[in-house]
């Protein structure tokens, strides 16, 4: 589409895949693609609207951050797509869709021949048509039956069984029986039934794999964010770069501005600010000077620091969290998907029914051939096509509805678990709050001061400065000269010959220094700016709706008690303060042990173990890699309302799935007695199968508007 003829086309291009929020219409697609293609260094951009992703081909010198800021400049927000490891499930989807196409083709053509048999073709014509059907059905079953045969063989060798075992046995026995009938010129060939059955089953499998293909898997990104080497200061003062696993406690590290800190430690020299967003989700940087503790995986923002290492490698806080995450996650692996539970009951029931039918008719004295035909009819009529479609079709329809509301569902079982959730635990920073600083008051009123403030704030990449810039986006900036950013203190500039300063109160000359950000222009009074991390605009409303849906809500936070209780009162929710990653996990595990089903909503690395330990978890798309990879559902945008919406949609889905099971079972209750009695002909089998499958699909389509 937008493949630009790029001057440097001979240069190898790199590809970056990003998840984009705010794509709504055709205009958005063209704006984003053309806008990105116009950026120097970007050769082409291609939007995938279904998955809300954009694939950018660019030169190696264009960094991820530059692409993200170009996208932001176009009015969209984007996040790096973490799960590159989804190729396997995509390949599976493709195999299934091809198998489905072959089965569909075979079903249509065999049906063409079958219709003429049903309408009265007899003798030589019928035998010819049966042979033709066999000619189509045998290769088609050999090709499209593979997903079932391989999986059935794999579990049988381990001495277990699954849904694929009765399917494979049913398909193979029916084919063999039909071939024999054809050879002796008999009337009961079920080639049409077999291929149609495979077609419906493959539809179910395909839908299920589409769900999983959306899942972003791969958990290794956690330690991938750590630097590979670090600058170590030797005893004689020389600086050498050494690999990260050579770092040991008591060594001295030199961390440049903008660099990841490689180990936990204590600051010996230098004054700077630390971005802890990777670890805590908190985006307001924390000041660091002599004696402060710093954690591995955080970023030194402003000025070089010398750090004495206290813990390195596998002992760091970040590695601790990684270990906690490995040990968590019991609740999820114990869960058995509803479709698997159904199939456990189903397989033995069907096989014993067919065996009993055979034995019964044989003892009644109809002969082996007639008894076998009846038993095969039982097998094919009970083959679980409606049952196989019942769950995936409902989940796919609702996942599509949720995606249109900005909620990504990673796995079908997540919806089943979400419907069962009765307790919601929410992290504070970045989940209930936006996780980015917002100016809430103290902005100067006079236009001249506002213009000057914007000019000064624009000079810095500091999150506070960015917040001010955002708050003053409607103002035209003044002309500033001598712009100077002093690490740890603030920014100074001259505006029309007047001194302007933005930064710490004591540096600006404010009467009392209480840690806020101040601004002063010349002789104007000092302006005290309040900058806070604000709750999401609909947080209170979302929490009210969660309570209406009979969910117990609680807020967990690592912050101090006064801050937490203030927000808790404002939003009318219970709150726990000073929670460590492990105590958050402990709260979740205790509730789970008491039989509760917990939905954990969190974003930071410190929420990782809790997200993993909970039955089901949700994270904002702006979360840290760990949050995004661990959570079962992600929501885009600023709305916390996505959480109650997803729960309501999941509950509706389970309702429809139960109805679908009732439909499938009801169909079997009607059809099986007929089959056992030997009254089922190939025509009846074909009709019964397609009608029950269509009913299930139609019922599931009602979920299209479930995300409310």
């Amino acid at each position: 589409m937008t493949a630009a003829v790029h001057p440097g086309c001979a240069v190898p291009l790199e590809t970056t895949v990003l998840v984009v929020d705010g794509l709504r219409c055709a205009g958005c697609i063209s704006k984003l693609e053309h806008g990105l293609a116009a950026v120097p260094g970007i050769a082409a951009a291609r939007v995938n609207f279904t998955t809300r992703r954009v694939r950018v081909d660019h030169l190696a010198e264009v960094s991820e951050a530059e692409i993200l800021s170009s996208i932001a400049g176009l009015g969209f927000s984007a996040h790096v797509f973490a799960g590159e490891g989804q190729d396997a499930s995509k390949r599976e989807s493709r195999t299934l869709v091809l198998a489905m196409a072959v089965a569909g083709f075979a079903a249509m053509n065999v049906m063409l021949l079958s219709v003429s048999i049903w309408s009265g073709a007899d003798g030589a014509t019928r035998t010819l048509f049966h042979w033709l059907s066999a000619l189509i059905a045998l290769p088609a079953v050999a090709y499209s039956g593979r997903p079932f045969f391989t999986s059935a063989w794999a579990v049988l060798r381990k001495g277990r069984t699954n849904m694929d075992v009765p399917i494979s046995i049913g398909v193979v026995l029916t084919l063999a029986m039909s071939l024999y009938e054809t050879a002796i010129g008999g009337p009961h060939a079920y080639f049409d039934g077999v291929v149609m059955l495979l077609f419906f089953l493959l539809c179910g499998r395909f839908l299920d794999s589409v769900m999983r293909a959306r899942a972003e898997d791969g958990v290794s990104a956690l330690l991938g964010r750590m630097p590979l080497d670090a600058a170590i200061i030797g005893r004689d003062g020389t600086v050498t770069r050494r690999a990260i696993d050579e770092i040991a406690p008591a060594m001295h590290l030199l961390v440049a501005a903008g660099e990841y800190i490689a180990a936990d430690g204590i600051v010996l020299e230098g004054t700077s600010e630390i971005d802890r967003s990777l670890v805590t989700g908190e985006s307001l940087p924390e000041p660091a000077s002599f004696g402060s503790t710093v954690l591995a995986g955080t970023i030194n923002l402003l000025a070089p620091l010398t750090i004495r290492v206290t813990k390195a490698g596998r002992d760091t806080a970040i590695a601790d969290i990684a270990r906690l995450m490995e040990s968590a996650g019991q609740a999820k692996s114990r869960y058995v998907r509803i479709a698997d539970r159904a199939s456990r009951l189903y397989a033995p029931a069907v096989h014993s029914l067919a065996a009993l039918t055979f034995a019964g008719w044989f003892l009644a004295g109809v002969g082996v051939h007639q008894a076998a035909i009846t038993a095969v009819a039982v097998l094919i009529i009970t083959c679980p096509c409606a049952l196989g479609l019942a769950v995936p079709i409902a989940q796919v329809v609702v996942a599509g509805a949720l995606m249109r509301r900005g909620v990504l569902v990673k796995d079908g079982s997540a919806l089943e678990l979400l419907a069962k959730a009765d307790t919601v635990l929410l992290d504070k920073t970045g989940t209930i709050t936006l996780g980015r600083p917002v100016v809430t008051g103290g902005l100067p009123e006079t236009p001249w001061e506002r213009a000057a403030l914007l000019a000064v704030a624009r000079a810095s990449r500091h999150p506070v400065a960015r917040a001010i810039e955002h708050a003053l986006s409607s103002v035209e900036a003044a002309e500033a000269s001598n712009l100077q950013e002093i690490p740890g203190l603030g920014i100074a500039a001259r505006i029309d010959g007047v001194e302007a300063r933005l930064g710490r109160p004591d540096w600006i000359g404010a009467p009392e220094a209480n840690g806020e950000t101040c601004f002063r222009l010349g002789d104007y009074p000092v302006r005290l700016l309040t900058i806070q991390d604000e709750p999401r605009p609909d947080a209170a409303e979302a929490i009210r709706r969660l309570k209406q849906e009979n969910l117990a809500c609680e807020m967990l936070s690592g912050d101090a008690a006064p801050i937490v209780s203030a927000l808790a009162n404002r939003l009318d929710i219970a709150g726990s303060a000073r929670m460590t990653p492990d105590s958050k996990r402990a709260v979740v595990s205790e509730l789970e042990a008491n039989g509760k089903h917990v939905l954990m909503v969190g974003d930071g690395l410190n929420d990782g173990p809790a997200l993993k330990a909970a039955s089901v978890s949700m994270a904002p798309a702006t979360a840290t890699d760990v949050g995004r990879l661990t959570a079962d559902l992600l929501f885009l945008g600023d709305r916390l309302m996505s959480v109650p919406i997803a729960i309501a949609a999941a509950r509706r889905t389970m309702h429809v799935i139960r109805q679908n099971f009732a439909l499938a079972v009801g169909y079997n209750l009607l059809a099986v007695p007929l089959a056992i009695a030997g009254r089922v002909t190939p025509l009846v089998a074909a009709l019964a199968m397609s009608v029950s499958s269509l009913l299930v699909v139609g019922n599931a389509l009602r979920l299209r508007s479930a995300a409310r």
Partner: protein, 55 residues
């Protein structure tokens, strides 16, 4: 019977060619972005020079 000898192979060949077309389409990624394809038809002009950003 003569009609059948002609018509059945034709029907099968038509079906097979449709199947082959579907295989090609699935392999070449035609079904990767169904929602997007529905919207792209509404984008009216293609920029001739991508270096010139359009409004």
């Amino acid at each position: 019977m003569n009609g059948l000898a002609l018509l059945i192979p034709i029907a099968l060949a038509l079906g097979l060619s449709a199947l082959a077309a579907f295989f090609w389409a699935a392999r070449s990624g035609q079904f990767d972005d169904l929602d997007g394809a529905a919207l792209r038809i509404l984008i009216d002009e293609q920029p001739t020079a991508p270096a010139e950003p359009e409004e």
